[in-house]
């Protein structure tokens, strides 16, 4: 069976797996963004706390992905939960780091001006610091998404959802019928998704970054 025949014959399944993959990556990155932003906001003003947060995220990041998913099994068993937890942990580093870099990179004069006009701390964060740091934060989220996209394939190892299943089952019976086709379909699917997400980020960046920062 040619690759094309393989894809058409299993179109529905592939589409479903692709959707699952995208949905998992999207949700994990969203979760990581919420957590990462919260951690960054809580720590960026105190340098040792900020370093601690970035350091911890870096340590998590250095754990090999197979080991990480493996470590999830005794705690969360198999399936969606361990996949999401592991992926979210991976996704954290670029996000936390960029949030902290972005927020602490805001010109102190801007903060002074904002405080000097009578904005409360929360207003300064919402109206000045976050909008100014936004391009950097968004870059972090984008990098994190690309990274998660690849790592998510490993989720199949803990019976997680997504295109990883194609790759894993394909590689497991290499030489067998359609083995290569399966692995190829999974890999190409992931690449396509990555390109799609990247395009989406460019659009989101345009729509959510103040025009004043782009001129």
């Amino acid at each position: 069976m040619s690759f094309w025949d393989y894809v058409t014959s299993r179109w529905d399944l592939l589409l479903f797996e692709t959707y699952q993959h995208a949905s998992m990556v999207f949700q994990c990155v969203l979760l990581a963004t919420v957590i990462g932003l919260a951690v960054a906001v809580a720590t960026y003003r105190t340098s040792w706390l900020a370093n601690l947060a970035t350091g911890t995220a870096s340590v998590i990041f250095t754990i090999p992905s197979f080991a990480m998913f493996g470590l999830m099994i005794p705690v969360f068993g198999l399936g969606v939960v361990p996949s999401v937890v592991a992926l979210t942990l991976y996704a954290l580093l670029p996000i936390i780091r960029n949030c902290i870099v972005g927020l602490s990179g805001v010109d102190p004069a801007m903060v002074d001006a904002a405080r000097g006009m009578g904005m409360s701390r929360a207003m300064v964060l919402a109206r000045v610091e976050l909008p100014l740091a936004w391009p950097v934060i968004l870059t972090g989220v984008r990098v994190s998404t690309m990274l998660t996209m690849g790592v998510a394939a490993i989720a199949a190892y803990v019976s997680g959802p997504g295109l990883g299943d194609e790759i894993f089952s394909g590689l497991a019976r290499l030489g067998g019928a359609n083995a290569l086709n399966a692995a190829l379909a999974g890999t190409l699917g992931i690449i396509l998704l990555a390109l799609l997400f990247d395009a989406a980020y460019i659009l989101i960046g345009r729509l959510t970054t103040s025009r004043g920062l782009r001129v």
Binding site: A109, M110, D112, A113, A114, R115, G116, M117, G118, M119, S120, M123, V128, P131, L132, S210, R211, G212, L213, V215
Partner: protein, 382 residues
């Protein structure tokens, strides 16, 4: 809003700020009163504590000890954010938020104060016009689409948005060329004529201080007040070498620049009506042993002709048939420098001074010299 009130008085009492881990306080036991409606300029070397003193006033920095009274009320009794909404603040290069349009930048405090949309829009338009930027063009621009001078104008407009009685300006015109800077200074003075806010203005530039300040505070390390007086007094009688160093070499010339003709003792000459009898005027000049007489317009009291004693010898008829027209006059609002300029430019030894179109007296080189001497004398006696 406090449209009609103008500024309020600010009192600093034994104000001290010691940053953690620093041996010497950045602001060391400073006591001063800033009068309502005045521009007080802080000048002093880098690190003398000017910015710190200013930030103590709007509580961006809390004092280690001492008090700040704004309009007689202890600034620390109010919520800091609340307090700051009624103190305009302009920092170097405007400090505009690049992600907000000009209109949004200006509208920040009015929005915090929950003004309604219509009122905010009107206020933005009014302020832009006030600082010389056309609202149709500039409301929707972003700060990065403006020149440095335009940004600073917006910075001033933003600080004035909710009509605060107090304005703090920390080197607001630092980053522009001298011509734009002079223009911004003129605009600020014109605004202040109208608004009479209490303005604390920080600069390194003594000439700027002289031009803008109703009073200048020369500060040394620890924000120690070396001299706090009107510009003319500081120029006429600097307290010590430190102040002299700030003034620079040509203090006397600068003094000419800050003294108004209306404020000095003018020379007086014989004044006559156009129809006065020439022979009569001649006799009177001889009696007074004077050389020149000024012919004043009927009614208006405007100087129109000069006549001198020689021309009137053996003359008869109305005095307006003799002498020559007055072509140079100066206003009482001119500075002595401008008077000097007028004297040097025209061939005349005397230039008549006109206040509200009426003759007030004469300026000669001697008048100017006398005036400077007496300013020095007065400053010393104080």
């Amino acid at each position: 809003m406090s449209d009609d009130v103008g500024g309020v008085q600010i009192d600093l009492r034994n104000l001290t700020k010691r940053y953690p881990g620093q041996a010497k306080p950045a602001v060391d036991d400073v006591t001063m009163t800033i009068q309502a409606g005045e521009i007080v300029v802080f000048v002093g070397p880098s690190g003398s504590g000017k910015t710190t003193t200013m930030k103590l006033i709007n509580r961006l920095i809390e004092p280690t000890s001492g008090e700040i009274l704004i309009n007689g009320e202890d600034a620390r009794k109010k919520k800091a954010d609340e307090l700051r909404r009624h103190i305009g603040y302009v920092i170097q290069a405007g400090g505009l938020f690049p992600h907000m349009t000009v209109a949004d930048n200006i509208a920040i405090v009015p929005r915090i104060l929950k003004w309604d949309r219509k009122r905010i829009a009107e206020r933005v338009e009014e302020l832009l016009t006030m600082v010389g930027l056309e609202p149709e063009i500039y409301t929707t621009r972003y700060p990065r689409q403006l020149s440095g001078g335009q940004q600073q104008r917006v910075g001033v407009a933003r600080a004035l948005a909710a009509d605060p009685p107090v304005l703090l300006m920390d080197e607001p015109f630092g980053a522009v060329d001298p011509i734009t800077r002079a223009k911004l200074q003129d605009e600020l003075l014109a605004l202040q004529d109208e608004l009479s806010k209490t303005i604390v203005f920080v600069t390194h530039d003594f000439d700027e201080a002289v031009k803008l300040g109703d009073r200048i505070a020369v500060l040394a390390e620890g924000s120690r007040i070396v001299q706090y007086a009107e510009p003319a007094e500081i120029l006429a009688n600097p307290a010590d070498d430190f102040v002299r160093g700030f003034i620079g070499e040509n203090g006397a010339m600068k003094l000419l620049n800050v003294t108004r003709v209306a404020d000095i003792d003018l020379d007086q000459a014989l004044t006559v009506a156009p129809e006065a009898d020439a022979a009569e005027v001649h006799r009177e000049l001889a009696d007074r042993d004077e050389h020149w007489a000024v012919v004043l317009d009927r009614g208006a009291g405007r100087p129109v002709r000069w006549v001198n004693r020689e021309e009137l010898a053996d003359a008869s008829g109305p005095v307006e048939d003799f002498g020559g027209p007055v072509d140079v006059t100066i206003s009482g609002r001119s500075t002595l420098q401008e008077a000097l300029e007028a004297l040097l430019r025209s061939d005349a030894e005397l230039v008549p001074v006109v206040v509200k179109r009426r003759y007030r007296g004469l300026v000669t080189l001697n008048t100017v010299q006398q005036a400077i001497a007496s300013l020095r004398e007065k400053a010393k006696r104080r």
